[in-house]
Amino acid sequence: MTWIPTTNEERDEMLAAIGVASIDELFDVIPPDLRLKSWDLPEGLSEMAVKRLVAEMGNRNCGSLVSYAGGGVYDHFIPAAVDALTSRGEFYTAYTPYQPECAQGTLQSIYEYQSAIVRLTGMDFANASLYEGGTAVFEAAAMAVRLTNRQRVVIHESLNPVYRQVVETHTAHLGLDIASGDDPTGAACVIVQNPSFLGTVRDFTALAERCHAAGALLVLSFYPTSLGLLKTPGEMGVDIAVAEGQCLGIPLGFGGPYLGILATRKEHIRKMPGRLAAETADAQGRRGFVLTLQAREQHIRREKAMSNICSNEALMALRSLIYLCLMGKDGFLEVARHCHAKAEYLKSKLDFGTVLNDGPTFNEFALRLPRNAEEVAKRVMDQGYFAGLPLAPLGAGEETDLLIAVTEKRTREDLDGFAQALREAACN
């Protein structure tokens, strides 16, 4: 099995042109003791057999269950046009736009994506993408450290605990002081999340002011869909807004590829990690787009770069852009409205549990059940539902606590059925 086109005849012609007798000879530079020691790999399978193999493995996941799991990534609707367009070869088989003249499709799409994020967040600049939401929080923290020259990072309890773990892993060797709470004193930044991991919606305007008074930055991790309704990072006075962009037309895909979003204020732009596209023109005055401020990046600045990021998530940024265009101003708002209203409706049906949130929620809330949440989850799994995320294993609640998320995909009928199943599993 192979995707190599070269025929034996052509191979021989090429060897002759090189002046060697065999391909093996080309590998003579490799010292014999460094040659392959083991190669215990399966034999090749035809396309047909691979398709079948993977389909069989897929059948061992429960693809047909209806999911109420959230926690940062969500089962939102993805319009068919997103796949139809991003699957065009000229997009997905291209790479970094090193030659802008033959990559205007890429560059304009990055520029349009940046514009969409700026419009969504009320921030001044957005970069071309980061890996995903968790590492984006780390990048924001590192950026704050660079900007303030302070070594203390304060993480608020609202932040996704998984993201906190990612930040801790990345900063383990940096000698930073990673603290909990929201006290900006002496801190490079305070990191908050809205809605919180448990779903509570807050206004961090006052905290932003306290941060700025203390010479610290406010970093906010937001949920893009919620910005259909919620106060924007820009309105709150946030310095660096980051997000997981999965909700914007990207499949759940068991964890990735996703999209790290980062937006910031004008004054911080030169310390921003990641690529940035900008408008310019050619000699004839035709508008075009290029990557700019590349002196921030690893390929120029090497160990002094703002980040080590190189390959990022451009195709996912394109997906999110197409999604945002398809939904448009009104549709995007509708999605948020529906998510919120449906979650509120479900909440109202779950009176056998206690909602743990201490404020309004958007589309996700934590529920204390009369019984162990994982047991309940197992039971309703048999009814065809992923009930949500038990909070204990995430270190974010008691054994009885469940995090439930609702998207626009759930109908009233779905919600009624789920509420009933959950009631039975939790109370009987």
Binding site: G44, S109, H170, L276, A281, T292, I300, C310, L315
Partner: protein
Amino acid sequence: MQLIYEKSREGRRGIVLDALDVPEAKLPAALCRKEPAALPEVSELDVVRHFTHLSQRNFGVDSHFYPLGSCTMKYNPKLAEAVSANPNFAALHPLLATSDAYWPCLQGAFQVIYETERILAEIGGMQAVSLQPIAGAHGELAGTLLIAAYHRDKGNTQKDTILVPDSAHGTNPASAAIAGFKVVQVPSAADGTLDVEAFKAKLNDNVAGVMLTNPNTHGLYEPKVHEVADLAHAVDALMYYDGANLNAVIGQSRPGDMGFDVMHFNLHKTFATPHGMGGPGSGPVGVGERLVPYLPGPRVVKLESSFGLEMPEKSIGKMSPFFGNFMIALRAYAYIRHLGGDGLKDVARYAVLNANYMLARLKQAYQPAFGEQRCMHECVLTAAPQAKQGVRALDIAKALLDRGFHAPTVYFPLTVKESIMIEPTETESKETLDAFCDAMLSLAEMAEMGSDALHAAPVSLPVGRLDEVRAAWELLCACLP
């Protein structure tokens, strides 16, 4: 071409939802945004045409030969795309894995991870692999963090430095620095390989690790790699292998056998997953015995009759929230299973054959950066002879665009002036290589004749050379409402 924002018309709609079938709910106004986000108001057809047109302004592997050195722009099989459209994977929520109640429903996904990690470990000569890193540079970061954890655990408190060759890709020093290390550069010898004497001079007890790639970014195999590894190990410095160039040696020589302790794989290079205009990639990190206990976690493990998750003893924690770019790994898995062990061996064989063939054809006109040496999977030439006529590598690159080829990498590696770095990969045919070489040679002739046309290129594309200074000066990075 207009921006999608310029096509917006007030009140025009794309996707519309069904009427809300539950009571409306309201959030307190103080928590809400003042104005709806000024997203474009366009129809579905507007969107389809706009992005169809944008795509037509791109070169991709599907449409053009793309010999971009160091990037391994090989064919991205449609099989892998088809496989990744499977909703049983595509719709699976990763956080379900946090509760073992859900594990019975995740066995297929766990198996993909388990097998892919096992296979990659065998390919790299590593003990174990984690799919968590999201891209190559993230794999490097994972690797340097693993090195840091190892030394911390061993009490090697003085080890604060990572050695990196001057020819290294920018991500290597950047990753080491981001992890928290000092970076010290090691010069290359005149023949393009690592200068072992210079290396010895920089090596000391403070060195925590050494980052190399092999073949190096000059396209040359480092024949003394094992000697270097022995030297490093003698001071308990660990050896990091940048897997970006694995396509040259896959199935021929394994990083583990070369003496490396930790490495990353670029699934979007060696394993043919698409580059997506700059990502997503996937950069699994592999480790030898010493580093296994520190691997990122949780890891998929084989339980009695099923797969489950486990946190390694001394894990550095989470490099990413879930399982890395799982859907990219799935594509790579399909690629590997199709080729199998023998097919993968041929990958390197033909990648190296193709690069040497191009080198042989082009060296008459473009100066090879390192004399008469043969190359591995890519060759570095220089436009130094042409530069004397006023034609720079950049001009050659732009002129190639007009001839229907993506340009090679130019001005990298930084160690070579006017460098032109060509990586054909194994999936291109001889006639494509010949057509490209013909074009390169004819451009060299034009350069020799002092043709001015090369400075005007490209002329056949939607835009000519763009003003980068103006872009940086004006910094117009978003279209505002």
